[in-house]
């Protein structure tokens, strides 16, 4: 059953899939990495020093884009109602949705970080840290995304609101993930991973409660 849910979610969320548009966050991510050198000038040292942080900010902003397609369409279609009738809890559905959301944007984001690093003239060591940090932080971003998508699913203008809600919640991941770039050890990455784990554990329950509340409303 979990496999069937995951297959459906992936078919709806992966790039080039039918619900579509999941390639857009990546292009957005690359566009930010491309615009930044134009904006601050071609100073390779400055770019190399700040580029890692720019990649982090771009990744965070790119994570906002798919939020309106995560939960709201299913709530509108009555899919959650029909799953509930079959005894499948909202928590399970959202845990699977979170995994599918992560799979649909994180691996490609890591790949896109390579050309972005070239654009920002990052060295190999910084790039390695950025990739590790993103690997640790993106599950947390996916968790926040699912939680917020569930919270705003029943609301008018939920898409704009979800962007605003995601940013403050993602700040801890950003602080430790991007902060690890300026430190020689990997402590920041470990803390970002810890925050991610907490968020991943919490998101299905918070989201499930939000969907049940939307049903009562």
């Amino acid at each position: 059953m979990i496999g069937r849910l995951l297959l459906r979610d992936l078919a709806l969320l992966l790039p080039g899939s039918r619900r579509g548009g999941s390639i857009l966050p990546l292009l957005f991510f690359l566009a930010v990495a491309m615009l930044y050198p134009f904006a601050v000038g071609p100073d390779a040292q400055l770019l190399a020093r700040t580029g890692g942080g720019v990649i982090w900010v771009a990744a965070l902003l790119a994570a906002i884009l798919p939020l309106d397609r995560l939960v709201a369409p299913d709530l509108e279609l009555g899919v959650f109602d029909q799953l509930a009738l079959r005894g499948i809890s909202e928590e399970l559905v959202l845990a699977v949705r979170m995994a599918a959301h992560w799979l649909s944007f994180a691996p490609l984001l890591l790949l896109a970080a390579l050309p972005a690093a070239a654009l920002l003239s990052l060295d190999g060591q910084t790039l390695g840290k950025v990739l590790l940090g993103l690997l640790a932080g993106t599950p947390g971003l996916a968790a926040i995304g699912v939680m917020i998508a569930a919270l705003t699913a029943g609301l008018r203008g939920g898409a704009a609101l979800s962007g605003l809600l995601l940013i403050p919640l993602a700040v801890p991941i950003l602080i430790f993930g991007a902060g690890s770039l300026s430190r020689p050890d990997g402590d920041g990455i470990a803390l970002a991973a810890a925050i991610s784990l907490v968020l991943v554990a919490m998101a299905p329950f918070a989201g499930g409660a939000a969907i049940r509340a939307a049903r009562e409303g």
Partner: protein, 196 residues
């Protein structure tokens, strides 16, 4: 079909600060159909959602034995995928084979449209597709909320026939409709009698 029953005792429903109905009792055994009648806004949909367990009653209890199938205005079929795939998702979850799933599409007259994406279907065709989804679920208790909306004359006859067949093999059907619907020996529940 497995033995089933559906009962409700002393149900009350509140939406916002308005009490829609109270003191509602209902008891249905296998093979029985119930027609929930009343004008718009009286609480037919709310009653069905309470019976389905999707809405908490303000007071009272619902008891049931047997699985539920719900047909309401939301088809729960992915608009982007072909009808066959959309139906197959639910059939897979319900452990129904592809052959039975296709038989249900045949039953509602959608065989020709199985490879058409759901978003291209008309309102009536979507309702038929939802009927097929419900039929393939093989649940003994059917809750139908305005099942005739959007259906043409042949579709209405089809829906009536499906409910009759369902009750004939021992299933329960609760139909909320403001239109008359031919049901096999229905109990009628006039919600107006339960307005506080």
């Amino acid at each position: 079909m497995q033995a089933c029953h559906l009962s409700a005792s002393n149900l009350a429903c509140r939406r916002g600060d308005r009490l829609l109905f109270r003191g509602l009792d209902l008891a249905l055994q296998g093979g029985e159909a119930c027609h929930v009648a009343g004008p718009n806004g009286i609480g037919k949909t709310s009653l069905l959602r309470i019976l389905a367990g999707l809405l908490r009653p303000f007071a009272g209890e619902v008891g049931r034995a047997g699985t539920l199938a719900l047909l309401d205005e939301k088809p729960a079929l992915d608009p982007q995928v072909p009808l066959a795939a959309a139906l197959a998702f639910w059939a897979d979850l319900d452990g129904v084979g592809p052959h039975d799933c296709k038989a249900c599409a045949d039953l509602v007259g959608l065989t020709e449209l199985l490879d058409v994406p759901v978003r291209f279907l008309s309102t009536g065709q979507r309702k038929r597709a939802a009927l097929a989804r419900m039929q393939s679920q093989q649940a003994p208790i059917w809750l139908l909320d305005e099942p005739l909306n959007g259906l043409d004359t042949a579709g209405i006859a089809l829906a009536e026939c499906m409910v009759a067949d369902h009750c004939a093999v021992g299933g329960i059907a609760v139909v909320a409709s403001h239109q008359p619907m031919a049901l096999p020996a229905p109990k009628t529940l006039e919600l107006e009698a339960f307005i506080p």
